[in-house]
């Protein structure tokens, strides 16, 4: 029971992490029609900035805030210098251009921080365990991730549903021409959306950093998970991203925790130990394939985003 609860929390935590990454990705795609592979690079840069800035500023909180701001600024620069020119191009150009950016950022990070990788030290007050239920201890830091994730999800909900920018975002995701017709400064809206997405990616990177390690290419595999999330959720839909991210987080965590045991019930121990890890890492892709068969347009399709 304790183990189950732990895994459940881990699943939610991974889900929220994925959501932070997928939210920016899906917004950028929904509004600017841009396939941004370099989103994972922003995740990585956020983690690296946090790792060095928390040391430089001698404060975890200040370092994290500075890293978020730094990544948001990088996002603004990236958007204004390069990506803005990519919007009118086709998806293949997006893929090529942003793939080039990944190579660039990986190498730039290697030049600045070296190839060895870094660690982000967690402050003492976030270290240790806390009893979430009688008899169930859970790492404080992971709990903090969950809380932060929920807060960001709420923030995004309010932003998208109840503000003028959010109204434009929703309008833009379902009808790109319309926001132009509303007389909005589109370039500024794009820049804002992109920098918010960049900050969210950085936050995800920072939150993951103490659990995983800060290393070059850390954003790449999780980026593909985020793709799976937005494919399942429906491209352009923040709500879809949240639901799908939690789903993927839970399936992945639970699969890894329980699938080998379940297989042992059916197969021999040897066969189970061979197929277990492989199958559980494939699980989410199988789930995605199943969704494709049943709902190829995603859970919450945004009408015009499907072309």
């Amino acid at each position: 029971m304790t183990f189950f609860l732990e895994q459940l929390l881990n699943g939610v935590q991974l889900g929220l992490l994925l959501f932070l990454l997928a939210a920016g990705l899906t917004l950028v795609f929904g509004i600017m029609d841009l396939v941004n592979l370099a989103h994972g690079s922003l995740y990585m840069v956020g983690a690296y900035l946090a790792a060095s800035l928390t040391v430089m500023l001698k404060s975890f909180v200040l370092g994290v805030i500075a890293a978020l701001a730094g990544t948001a600024l990088l996002g603004i620069a990236l958007e204004m210098l390069a990506l803005r020119r990519l919007y009118p191009r086709d998806h293949l150009d997006h893929v090529l251009g942003t793939f080039g950016l990944i190579l660039f950022f990986n190498e730039a990070v290697r030049l600045i921080w070296g190839a060895a990788g870094m660690t982000l030290a967690v402050p003492p007050y976030l270290n240790g365990l806390v009893e979430v239920l009688p008899g169930v201890a859970y790492p404080i830091y992971r709990l903090a991730i969950i809380i932060a994730g929920v807060l960001v999800a709420l923030f995004l909900y309010v932003l998208v549903q109840h503000t003028r920018v959010g109204m434009l975002i929703r309008a833009g995701a379902s009808n790109r021409e319309m926001i132009g017709a509303l007389g909005v400064n589109i370039n500024r809206l794009y820049t804002i959306v992109f920098s918010v997405g960049a900050a969210l990616a950085a936050l995800a990177g920072i939150m993951a950093a103490p659990i995983l390690t800060v290393q070059i290419g850390m954003g790449e595999n999780i980026l593909i998970l985020a793709f799976v999330v937005i494919v399942i959720g429906g491209i352009g839909s923040v709500r879809g991203a949240l639901v799908a991210a939690l789903l993927i987080g839970l399936i992945d965590t639970m699969g890894r925790a329980y699938l080998p045991d379940l297989l042992r019930l059916i197969f021999t121990a040897r066969a189970a130990s061979v197929t277990g890890p492989a199958l559980s890492s494939m699980m989410i892709y199988l789930v995605m394939a199943a969704f494709l068969i049943v709902r190829p347009e995603g859970l919450f399709p945004v009408p015009s985003a499907r072309r």
Binding site: H91, L96, G97, L103, N221
Partner: protein, 312 residues
């Protein structure tokens, strides 16, 4: 005619590739042969990708998975003591075709950016599968101690012989692709890239044609994987990593999509560029990255399209 000029350029390129072993030997620079063996093999993969990407407009971002499937077929067969090409190669080709058929049928239910992401995700699936299976080396990969045997007729262990086997395979694939592109089937594939709805109104169920094209490309890339495993005598999950698929895509676009000259020229250009840049600086990717971005921005229409490209 530009077409004839392109034909001549392709012919020159292929003749040049045919002379590589002689050139390498005469200047005593044998690394050239190793490099170009790799180039010729990856050119096969690039040609196969161009069939669906350039001619068919299907932006597959997971094409390297078929390099992996072909490669692992050779590696796994060799691991179990089956070295004959008559066993290894058909298995590799059939496995590639089958995986192409299943995932293609799923991927082709979608269009546009969904297709990009889903082809990517399926290649990740196989990537994690290869990482997860300890029996076949997981992360560390699998060393192949003996290349495919061909009944004593052809010795793939001989570098020059092996090069010419790869070269002949490339010529065969180019010829097949050339026939396909000019066939009624190829016409349909290209028309579907241009305007799929219109084609359906003309009575052509485009999905089936696209799927068949996808399977053909998968199988062809499987062949490249088979050759690549023999070339490196080693396979690992890195073969399937999604950045590999990105590399293949770059080769096709760099050379020119929707042509047969393109993927061959693009493969040579990219691999030679990598070699040259890496002799200048170990951080050569910091140069290559922005080059790709510039290519994406300027390759079609150039500066004037860039200036006129702003929306509403």
């Amino acid at each position: 005619m530009t077409l004839n000029r392109r034909l001549i350029a392709t012919a020159l390129l292929l003749v040049g590739l045919g002379l590589i072993p002689i050139i390498a030997k005469s200047i005593g620079y044998l690394f050239l042969l190793t490099l170009f063996t790799r180039i010729v093999i990856l050119a096969i993969a690039a040609v196969s990708l161009d069939l669906i990407l350039g001619f068919g407009g299907m932006i597959s971002f997971g094409h390297a998975v078929f390099l992996g499937i072909g490669g692992y077929a050779v590696g796994i067969a060799a691991h179990h003591g089956y070295y004959s090409a008559l066993v290894q190669w058909p298995i590799g080709l059939a496995a590639s075709a089958l995986f192409g058929l299943i995932t293609g049928a799923l991927c082709l239910r979608t269009r546009g950016v969904y297709f990009i992401m889903i082809t990517l995700a399926f290649s990740q699936l196989v990537y994690f599968l290869s990482v997860g299976i300890d029996s076949y080396g997981s992360d560390d990969g699998l060393t192949i101690y003996k290349r495919s045997t061909m009944g004593g007729l052809i010795d793939l262990g001989n570098k020059t012989t092996f090069y010419y086997v790869c070269y002949a395979s490339l010529l065969l694939c180019l010829f097949l692709a050339w026939r396909i592109v000019r066939s009624p089937f190829g016409r349909v594939i290209q028309a579907a890239r241009s305007n799929e709805n219109r084609l359906q109104v003309l009575g052509i169920a485009t999905d089936r044609y696209r799927l068949v094209a996808y399977v053909i490309a998968s199988t062809m890339c499987g062949l490249a994987g088979i050759l690549l495993a023999n070339h490196t005598d080693f396979i690992s999950p890195a073969l399937i990593h999604w950045t590999r698929s990105g590399d293949l895509m770059i080769m096709v676009v760099l050379g020119g999509m929707g042509t047969l000259f393109g993927p061959v020229a693009g493969t040579i250009a990219l691999l030679v560029l990598e070699e040259v840049l890496s002799t200048i600086t170990e951080h050569w990717m910091i140069v290559l990255g922005p080059l790709l971005l510039l290519m994406a921005l300027f390759k079609r229409g150039g500066l004037s399209a860039l200036l006129g490209g702003r929306k509403a």
